[in-house]
Amino acid sequence: MSETALEIRGVAKRYAAHVAVRDLSLTVPTGAVYGLLGPNGAGKTTTIRMILNIIAPDEGTIRVLGRPNTETAVLDRLGYLPEERGLYKTMVVRDVLRFLGALKGVGTHEADRRIDEWLDRLSLRSESKDWGKAKVEELSRGMQQKVQFIGTLLHDPELVILDEPFSGLDPINAQALKDTVVDLKRRGRTVIFSTHLMDNAERLCDAVCIIARGEKVLDGTVAGVKAAAGDRTVALALDGSADPAVMTILHDPTLVTRLDDRSRSFEVTLADGADAQTLLTRLVGAGARIQRFERVQPSLHQIFLDRVGATGVEPGMSGHG
């Protein structure tokens, strides 16, 4: 097995009206859970479509599982869950899954065995009801999403690519998806997913790449990215809400460059030259009742905001990241 599951080198994709991706390079090691992070319109979906050879890059090369992704055989070893999801509505669930499996080279007999396994596992089949025999349109939205996961994973892909997998999922399916990702990692599979939900990424990913305006902003392991962002972050929690005097200190530009205000808890980025000790003294002096004051590594969310900012989305770009 190749050491790297995915290698993108100097890839660019231009459309008539805008540049979707410019000079993007990244490497995903085999067995990693990798997050592709960025605001809407950053070029995530375009990148994923190029990885899957749905669209061809204008420049650069992409290698998947050690082979150029233009080889059709290697694409059968990938699993893809698109952001925009759907199935043939009038088809029977089992037939849809057989069809999706057959497109990846899984025979009917083997597909049936795996479909049974998955239907049981995602509780789509019980003594009383086998949803595998129902038409897709008879299923609830949540059940259709489960069928879609099964379709993505039926051929036991070595590299799984999930585009905004959490969008539109109910909490139960979101948990099922997280469990599945953990299980895939345990079995040595590589998972790449795009998201703009930093909390999920921070919890699930080994490594991340943040892109904005079609360009890579930073990449690396989650630990590495956080370490590189320095220790200029303070997690602060107050007993009761902050009074105006406290807020004035927190908005003092000589002390604080960025404040993530969550009403009673704050993530504070210290200004250059400012000292955490000074901040603490001033807060106590202003009468703040402090529950927590801790120097922490910044969250991915904080790093994302720092590096991408509110201007992460290029005007006029919409639709697909």
Binding site: I54, L78, Y80, P82, E84, G86, L87, D95, T152
Partner: protein, 430 residues
């Protein structure tokens, strides 16, 4: 190849399994069966029900004309033995009025259908009186008139010294003209049958192309609106998906036409058995068109190429739009091309050698419908057929190429329907 097969199989199986396919496919044999059997059956039934044999004849001629008329009105073997011959009352001319009055009561009491009176005037001038409940039926009155005429002819022939049997044989003589078509290659087939067949072929081609072309449009649109396409194009190149769709849906159409054709041939070859089952022996044969094997091969080629041309255009429309309503609008130009072909079917058929007919069988968009019709209705030189086929082949290759490019880009593009400028950009970009 395996993936193409997978796509074809899905398209085929899902469609053939649908209720609509079964209904429409079974409708074919039903239709063929009824146009072949029904007219004959209805006319036989009408004859069976005809009540002309069940009347009373008052004969005041004194020459036995009433009995002759009764024999002419007697049921033929085709109509079964159930009905008796009309009864004849031979009366003196003076008693006619009284007998008529008595029988009128019977007609009103519904024990008798009608009364026919023949007398001296009938012998001299051919006039007779009929009164009955069925006097309004033109067919039945005509049957009576013809029976009287034959009876008069019969008695005239006998008077001229011709034996009764001979006279009967002469009177039963039927005249039928069979019109044969003369072509450059010789003669063969029935002219009318060929024209009907030509129109049938054109209509079948038109119907299949519209029906299955729209099926492709809906299929592409379904994949696009449900977003299934997103997953599928990660496994299959759009070109293969498009090809699989066109071939799969085309195979469904072909299956249907084979069922129709087989049932048509079945009905034709088994028709004497079917007629005898319905008690309709002796029906005249149905005229059949003469179609040689090479013409048939050309017809199949025209269908396949024409279908491919229009199917790819419909697929491109499906990839361009985002909803059923938009699709209807965007498909208009393609439908117009088809309608344009079929509205000229009538003038081309009535004058298959005209300039219009020639032009229409050269334009690649109308050729797949007009040329097959023209070549079944009238002989067309093989050079012309080959060149027309070549034109359709080139045009359909160009349409497939264009459609594949629009499809590739459009399938994953949502939002506003592209204008012409953007469409050109898609074609360049793909």
């Amino acid at each position: 190849m395996g993936k193409l097969w997978t796509v074809i199989r899905r398209e085929y199986v899902e469609r053939v399994r649908s209720k609509w396919f079964v209904i429409v496919t079974l409708f074919g044999p039903l239709f063929f069966g009824s146009i072949m059997v029904l007219p004959g059956y209805l006319s036989v039934r009408a004859m069976r029900e005809a009540r002309v044999a069940n009347i009373r004849i008052i004969d005041a001629t004194g020459a036995g004309l009433g009995a002759r008329v009764a024999r002419r009105l007697a049921p033929t073997p085709l109509q079964g033995e159930a009905q008796a011959m009309a009864a004849v009352d031979t009366v003196a001319p003076a008693d006619v009025t009284a007998t008529e009055a008595a029988l009128l009561d019977e007609i009103q009491a519904r024990t008798l259908v009608g009364v026919l009176t023949v007398d001296a005037a009938t012998l001299q001038a051919g006039t007779a009186r009929y009164m009955g409940r069925n006097a309004g039926s033109v067919g039945e009155v005509q049957a009576i008139e013809s029976a009287i005429k034959q009876a008069l002819l019969g008695s005239g022939m006998e008077a001229a010294g011709i034996a009764t049997e001979q006279a009967d044989a002469l009177l039963r003589l039927r005249v039928r003209v069979s019109a044969e078509r003369v072509t450059d290659e010789g003669k063969g087939g029935s002219g009318l049958a060929n024209t009907i067949f030509g129109f049938g072929v054109a209509f079948l081609l038109y119907f299949s192309i519209v029906f299955y072309g729209q099926a492709i449009l809906r299929g592409v649109l379904e994949e696009k609106t449900t977003r299934v396409a997103e997953v599928i194009v990660a496994s299959v190149k759009p070109d293969i998906l498009l090809a699989g769709k066109v071939i799969g849906v085309g195979s469904v159409g072909l299956t249907q036409q084979i069922v129709w054709l087989a049932s048509g041939i079945g009905f034709y070859t088994q028709r004497s058995r079917i007629f005898s089952l319905l008690g309709m022996e002796g029906m005249p044969p149905i005229p059949m068109p003469s179609i040689e094997a090479p013409v048939l091969a050309a017809l199949v080629l025209f269908f396949l190429l024409g279908y491919t041309l229009y199917a790819s255009l419909f697929a491109a429309v499906g990839a361009m739009v985002g909803s059923q309503e938009e699709a209807q609008q965007a498909a208009q130009p393609v439908i117009m091309l088809l309608v344009f072909s079929i509205i000229f079917a009538q003038p081309v058929l009535t004058n298959p050698t005209s300039r219009l007919a020639e032009a229409m069988s050269w334009i690649p968009f109308s050729a797949p419908i007009i040329m097959p019709m023209r070549m079944t209705a009238t002989p067309v030189s093989w050079t012309e057929i080959t060149l027309s086929l070549l034109g359709v082949a080139l045009a359909s290759a160009a349409c497939v190429w264009l459609a594949a490019r629009i499809y590739r880009v459009g399938l994953l593009m949502y939002g506003k329907r592209p204008g012409l400028g953007e469409l050109l950009r898609w074609i360049r970009q793909a």
